[in-house]
Symmetry: C2
């Protein structure tokens, strides 16, 4: 356990978030962020308790959110560290009220711009981002159609999260099943998987559809570039396809926490967590995340 120097705090970490973006940091392919170097601490959003502080803004016992990485204790100079209400579930700051939540909120509302009566499709619909995308779409009056893997997740998306429909991506005829679930086509496709789901969605996109591109988890381990979907559709249907990073919408964070926090408190948004006990289980849990083995927001309980 390190000792904090002047201006630093020491945090005993209790919760760690596992998220698909981490796959990109484990590759040296060109990207917006530099990869984590061999021997460096792997990055992660975390929550913990300040155990020692030489920083004027923090004291021992404060519950904080930080980017503390895959470790039991983290030193920080306070940059990007946010105090949490100890009465609330602190791990929500890593999911529904944190980076994944803002990703869903901003990508859907700022790029997807769903209107009442439109159809919004999102994959990984039981996951941290997808579950929120569909529920916010419904709050905005749109029809939400999820895609998820397996009967248990599909049932959860329809019955607990309240999506209008949900399709199993393992179904023998995914394109046909999706077309039946979207009789008026698709106006917003919140893209977070790519691959076969994208291929099924593409022909169903409506004139002037919007495609916020948040992730492509099915393609992160590709060894060679894979051909993209038909580009003529972008022209003929006047599609808007936009890749984004949650950081582009940092200015919305306060509005987001107030609005989504309100929906959560009012029971209008349901939120599922998948908790793995012990930091030593994080690598295996992360591999499972890439295959969709988790059920809800994947968190590691460190201590």
């Amino acid at each position: 356990v390190p000792e904090p120097r002047d201006g630093q705090i020491l945090v005993r970490q209790t919760w760690m978030s596992l998220d698909p973006y981490m796959r990109g940091r484990m590759s040296d392919a060109p990207s917006y962020a530099r990869p984590v170097g061999v021997g460096e601490v792997m990055v992660a959003g975390t929550v913990g308790e300040v155990t020692a502080s030489h920083h004027p803004d923090f004291g021992a016992g404060d519950i904080v959110q930080l980017y503390g990485g895959w470790q039991d204790y983290a030193l920080s100079n306070g940059n990007g560290v946010r105090k949490l209400d100890p009465a609330a579930a602190p791990q929500h700051a890593l999911g529904v009220l944190g980076m994944p939540g803002l990703t869903a909120y901003a990508g859907l509302l700022e790029i997807g711009k769903p209107r009442a009566g439109e159809t919004v499709v999102v994959a990984a619909a039981s996951g941290a981002v997808g579950s929120l995308v569909g529920q916010i779409a419904r709050i905005k009056g749109a029809r939400a159609v999820g895609i998820a893997g397996g009967a248990k997740k599909v049932a959860h998306v329809k019955e607990v999260l309240g999506f209008d429909d949900c399709v199993d991506h393992r179904a023998p005829d995914l394109p046909g099943a999706l077309a039946r679930a979207c009789p008026k086509g698709i106006d917003v496709y919140f893209e977070n998987v790519g691959g076969a789901v994208q291929a099924a969605v593409w022909p169903l996109l409506n004139e002037m559809a919007r495609v916020p591109v948040c992730g492509l988890i099915a393609q992160y381990s590709d060894e060679a570039p894979r051909p993209g979907p038909d580009f003529l559709s972008i022209l003929r249907k006047h599609l808007t396809v936009r890749g984004f990073l949650v950081g582009h919408f940092a200015g919305l964070a306060v509005d987001f926490r107030r609005e989504v926090g309100g929906w959560l408190a009012a029971g209008r948004i349901k939120y599922q967590e998948d908790v793995v006990e012990g930091l030593e289980r994080a690598p295996q849990a992360f591999l499972g995340l890439l295959k969709g083995a988790n059920f809800g927001k994947l968190l590691v309980k460190i201590a």
Copy 2:
């Protein structure tokens, strides 16, 4: 020659515009506009003189712009017909001050949003749209790089239109030549060709680059869907790719004519026309347009 009925005007057409979008109307592939039926008059923007009027807003002798189609005389009920200043070059209403001009202006400024110092790339750079894209980009302080076919067009783009650089798409190493012309990468790619040019552009796009998709002339005669460019780049570089139609920006038409008309009058914008004499030559000229045989805005002088 038909007779105008009550509420109609008869126009003797003098100029007709040939534009790439017409290729789409000659196909029954799904599109935003229905195809022209067999036996119907092929659509085209035209200019002509009213020879008979039973419409309160028009009189014999008026010079008008209309969508009169591939014919010598057109009947109209006045919808979408606009009177032109007979002292000005009326055929400009079909090009630099008309639909192609607004396409360039709106697509570049509303979607491309070039900033001073950024690099803007456009193909068909000596054509009606491309020539304006590059010249407006330069007026906005950006670096304009054109792509054109053959030494004569390349020289015109650089020397007459004043682009910062121009690459010949017939060059043996188009990707290398384009990379050398864009040492700081590409921030705006005004897409109007697709195919090999798009493939050369894609790896050079910068973080947060914008791609207004105006046309894909190299792909209009594809018999099967062709794979699109690498989609992971849209995510990793946070690209915005948006297909558009000039009609989406009809509200800008007045600003556009005032602003571009001013630049044209001040000599800040150069404009090249390629005039084919005789309606009977239109089919051959249109085939040439699809292959880049024209030099500047392609017009048919009907009478």
